[in-house]
Structure formats: C-alpha cells, structure tokens
C-alpha cells in the first residue's frame, strides 16, 4: 500500500515532507546536549534527592529523609535567610541604579564609549572582580579603609559577620549594573521619541516624563529584567567562594555555597540534591511569576 501511494503521489506533493530526515539529523547534536545535560540531570537530580549517595557506593533510596533533615537543619534555614538578604540588597540597588544609568544614557548621551565603559566590569570574571574588591576593601591596607580611617579615624571590616553579605551584594552590583542598565536601555529605545516630544509640547518636565512616560512604558521590560537578575542572584557562588568562603562562621554561607559544601566538602550528594530541588522550586515559582508579570504588562507598549 505504501508503494502505491508513493507512486501515485506527484513529486510536488511530496516536497514539503522530505525535510523529515534532515530536520531530525540537524537537531541530533543539540538534542544530545538537551537530553544529556538538561533533561537527564533534571530527572537524576530529583531521584538523587531521595537517596543517600556519596559517589563511591551506589545510591540508597531513603525516601523523604533528606527533606526531613532539611526542615530541621538550622544552617540550611540560615543559608535561606542569608541568600534572601543578598538577593534583596543586590536586586534593590542594582535595579534602581541601572534604571537611573539607563535613563541618563538615553537622555544625556548615547555614545558607545560611555556604554562600553559601564559594561567593562561585566567582561571580567566574578573571580577577578572578587579579587579586586578583596584588595580594595582590605582591612589593613585597602584603599577604601585608608580613606575611611583618614576621615573618621576608624576602619571598617567589610567582611565581618554583619557586613559580609551587604559587601558581597555591592561587589556584584558593581559587576552587573552596567549589563542591567544596557538591558533597560534597550527597552528604552523601543519607546518612540514622539511620545517624549509630545510630552515636551505639553510642558512636562524631565521628572514628570520619567514617571508618566518612561516607567509605565518600561514596565514589561523592567519586570523581565528584574526576574532574570533575581534568578541569577539566587545562585550567587563565585564571589562568596573567593572572598569569605561562607564565613565568618555562617554569615555568608549562601544556599548555593552550602549545597556545594555539602556535595563536595562532605560528599553528601543526596542531601545536596534535596536542597537543590528546594532552590529549583523557588526559582520555578519566580519564573511563573515572570510570565504573569510580563504578560500583564504587554498591552502597555501597543
């Protein structure tokens, strides 16, 4: 029967279908990547969270034991608290500063040089950025403390238990603010100039135009940028790893660092995976929120 239809079908009708083999052949390499490094790890990570596994012996199914342990683990909850503190400080400063810088780039100068300079810290790795600030903020010889003590007569320990998280958050604001500003700047570009010109004709000040035109029209992009940077900052690791290693005591032991420590310091992959599942759920919730917020704002631009 198949031969009959194939013979009966004119060459033209077969044309749209003959991509099938090539279409699948072309996604094979990417498909391998997707299955091996996204889908399979996802399944495996969830499975590991229900086991006890130390890399050397086969994993043992332990049911909800890891999750029960998580609920009662005060260091875990401290890590959650510290991570949230980091996210709030980081996102708060980064978004406000980036918005100001983006608007100024739009209204004052659009020079590529200015934009390049602001982006520079983003080009170097977190490790380099962490080293650089470790030196500048150093307790005994760092330039910032030299200045502070010249003015106030006292020096500040930026990596003490009360200041470690704000310090790490500000270091990462420094690295990322230019990137975030450029994202917002791109959003600003999609607001037609005529809207501002109309505003000018009506005698609106820059300040009024910012609140009445820029912010409302920017809301969808702002929401997108906000959620994106939030997902990134929940996974803070590099800076902590180079500067404080989670210390003093647990003051800067953020969730991702604790997970790393549990897996590679103590080889408790099961428990580490359970905490990763916890983080995954939080991030999934944020992603869903992202879609809600961006969809809700979409009408504004049209």
């Amino acid at each position: 029967m198949s031969t009959a239809t194939a013979a009966a079908a004119p060459a033209l009708r077969r044309k749209p279908k003959d991509d099938r083999l090539l279409g699948i052949a072309f996604i094979i390499p990417a498909g391998i990547g997707l299955i091996a490094f996204y889908i399979w790890p996802l399944i495996r990570g969830i499975w590991l969270s229900f086991t006890e596994y130390n890399l050397l012996t086969p994993e043992q199914f332990t049911g909800l034991a890891n999750y029960q342990r998580m609920v009662g683990d005060s260091i875990f909850w401290n890590a959650v608290r510290v991570t949230l503190e980091y996210v709030l400080i980081n996102i708060g400063f980064q978004t406000v500063l980036a918005l100001i810088i983006a608007v100024l780039m739009q209204r004052l100068t659009q020079s590529t040089l200015v934009r390049s300079i602001v982006l520079t810290p983003y080009l170097v790795s977190n490790v380099v950025v962490a080293m650089l600030w470790l030196w500048i903020l150093d307790n005994t010889l760092g330039i910032s403390n030299e200045i502070i003590s010249a003015i106030t007569g006292e020096s500040v320990n930026f990596f003490s238990s009360s200041l470690a998280i704000p310090t790490i958050a500000m270091i990462n604001v420094w690295r990322h603010v230019g990137y975030t500003a450029l994202l917002i700047f791109a959003g600003l570009q999609s607001i037609p100039n005529t809207v501002y010109e109309a505003g000018k004709m009506d005698g609106a000040s820059e300040w009024t135009m910012f609140w009445r035109i820029t912010v409302p029209l920017l809301r969808p992009i702002l929401a997108l940028v906000l959620i994106m940077t939030m997902i990134g900052s929940f996974q803070v690791f590099d800076t902590v790893s180079v500067t404080t290693q989670g210390g003093p005591v647990n003051a800067s032991r953020v969730l991702q660092y604790y997970i790393y420590d549990m897996a590679f310091g103590r080889f408790q992959f099961g428990y580490a995976s359970a905490m990763a599942v916890g983080l995954l759920i939080v991030l999934a919730a944020i992603t869903i929120l992202q879609y809600r917020m961006t969809r809700a704002g979409e009408t504004d631009l049209d």
Partner: protein, 315 residues
C-alpha cells in the same frame, strides 16, 4: 523581541538626532547634576582597574609603607614575575609571595581550548538546530522546540550536581573535554536566539537556491550561515566571554594543571597566598593577567558586544 531586534539598527540613526537635540538644550542645573552622576559612575567603574594595575606594579614593601599613593610605589615587575613563576622561591618569599606560582601559559591554553570548544560547538550545533526549527518541516517539530524552550528554565545549580556525576561516570573528570562538555552541544538560549534570525531571512532567497538545484544542506551552509553572520558572530563573542569567565563548573571538574582554567587558577593562587602579610602585589598581577584577555577582546569588539546586549538579554 522583534521590536528589540530592530533597535540595533535604529539606535545609530536615533542617536544622532538625540545628540543634536540635547546640544541645543544647553545647561540646566538638572543636566549638570546628571552629568556629575554619570561621571561618578564611570570613575567608580574604571578606578578599581587602575588600582589593580597600580598595586601590581608596586612592591609589597612599598604598598605597606605608602598605601595611599596614587602612583605605583617602588615600581617593578616582580609581581608579574612571581605569577609567571620566573622568580626563584627565595626571591618570591622575600617579596612576600607564598612561593607558589601560576603556570599561566598552561591555564591560558586551557581557557582558550575550553572557550573555543564551547563556542565553536555551541554556536554551530545550535545553528543547525535553529535552522531545523526555523526552516525545515517535520512532524513533531513544534513539540520538540517547546522542549528546548522549557530547558531554558532549568537553573544551572540544578544540573551541576547530576552533570558532575555523569561526567565522572564517563571518565572525563580533570579533562578539558569534561570542562567543555555540558555547554558544548547547545544552550536553549543559543537555539532560540538564532532561530529568531533565521525566521526573518526572506523565504524567496531560499526558494531561488532550491530551484537552482541546491540541496537544503547547501542552502544552510552557503546561504543561511553567511546571511546570519552578524547574529552568529554576536552570539559567538558572548558565548566565548561567558565560557571564559565560568568558574563553578570548572572548579568542580578540574583538579590539576592539565585541565585547570584561568578563573580557577586565580582562585587557587589566592587560596595559597599567606594569610598574614598577603602578597597583594602578586595577587593583583594575577588578577590583571586573568582579566586582560577578555578586556582586549572587548576592546576589539566593544561596539558589537554593547549593541548586542539589548537583544540577547530578552530571553
């Protein structure tokens, strides 16, 4: 997304009129304050890099005796010599070093290999998949593409631990291929990003080539890839920078010099530094040396990178 992709061409034209308009407006208090703020932002951005250079060129004794000097104190290159392992251990210790050095050229080579493997593989394979999703017709295509898109939402922390177990099981721990592997085939974002561009290439061009007897494979290599060279090179630059700066994954899989990349090497060099009387001159030389390749790449391609942020960021 489509609105944003058009901005990159609109920016240059818009920038000129904007410039002219703002010149006429003259100086107001608000604008002066705004400029001062912008200048401050630039200074805070740039100055730390200068401070790294100033420290790297100073001696540790000089840093201690004159910590606030704007210029390098007791200017010398011994910090760099220590980083490159060109100082004898006695000299290094006398200069405040730990006696440890970085095998800089090995780490540089490793970083280049990893970033190149990741970029070449990811961009090429993602382009193939993007072409398949954008231009080829096959059953189940949209369902498979949705699966790719869904993978965008899987945060890296979640895949890192199982990926480590996987890479360990296939025996690629402490191997450069193991460092490159997870991102070498694709990222969902790269597929999505290129698909957008491929969809915008006029279908007539493709049909003309097909009528002339070209195969779809030839169309991909000789028509689609050259026509999309701008977005492809943009993606390549961004992928290269991201791969180069990655720290967490290489930290997990590399243990010795044979697979250690520059980011990990700098962190290790830092952890070897003496806790009292830290070798800041050497550390800052290492920091500078690690930052330099990407800063140079950025200088060469600043305009492309800067203009690309708008559409790469909108995921």
């Amino acid at each position: 997304m489509s609105a944003l992709t058009t901005t990159s061409t609109g920016v240059t034209a818009g920038a000129k009129t904007e410039q002219r308009r703002s010149d006429k407006r003259g100086l107001s208090v608000g604008r002066v304050i705004a400029w001062i703020f912008m200048a401050l932002v630039m200074v805070i951005t740039i100055l730390p890099f200068y401070w790294v250079l100033r420290t790297a060129l100073s001696s540790n004794a000089g840093i201690t005796s004159d910590p606030t000097s704007i210029l390098p104190v007791d200017i010398n290159l011994r910090g760099f010599a220590r980083v490159f392992g060109m100082q004898s251990t006695e000299e290094a210790l006398a200069d405040g070093g730990s006696g440890a050095s970085m095998n800089f050229w090995i780490y540089l080579r490793n970083s280049v290999i990893v970033a190149t493997l990741v970029t070449a593989g990811q961009v090429f394979f993602s382009a193939m998949a993007a072409y398949s999703f954008a231009r080829l017709r096959w059953r189940g295509r949209d369902a498979v593409f949705t699966l790719f898109l869904a993978a965008l939402m899987v945060p890296s922390i979640f895949t890192l631990l199982p990926n480590f177990v996987l890479v360990k099981q296939i025996g690629l721990i402490d191997n450069l291929l193991g460092v490159a592997l997870p991102t070498m085939f694709m990222t969902p974002f790269a597929v999505f990003f290129l698909r957008q561009f491929f969809m915008n290439i006029p279908r007539e061009l493709e049909e003309a080539a097909l009528l002339d007897g070209a195969s779809k494979i030839r169309v991909f290599f000789q028509l689609i890839l050259p026509m999309a060279s701008a977005p492809i090179s943009t993606l390549a630059i961004i992928t290269y920078i991201t791969a180069w700066n990655d720290y967490f994954w290489p930290l997990l899989v590399s243990y010795t010099d044979s697979s250690r990349v520059l980011t990990v090497a700098v962190a290790v060099f830092r952890s070897q530094a003496p806790t009292s009387g830290t070798d800041w001159s050497g550390l800052m030389a290492a920091t500078l040396v690690a930052a330099l390749p990407m800063l140079l790449l950025f200088m060469a391609a600043a305009k492309r990178v800067v203009n690309s942020i708008g559409f790469t960021g909108i995921k």
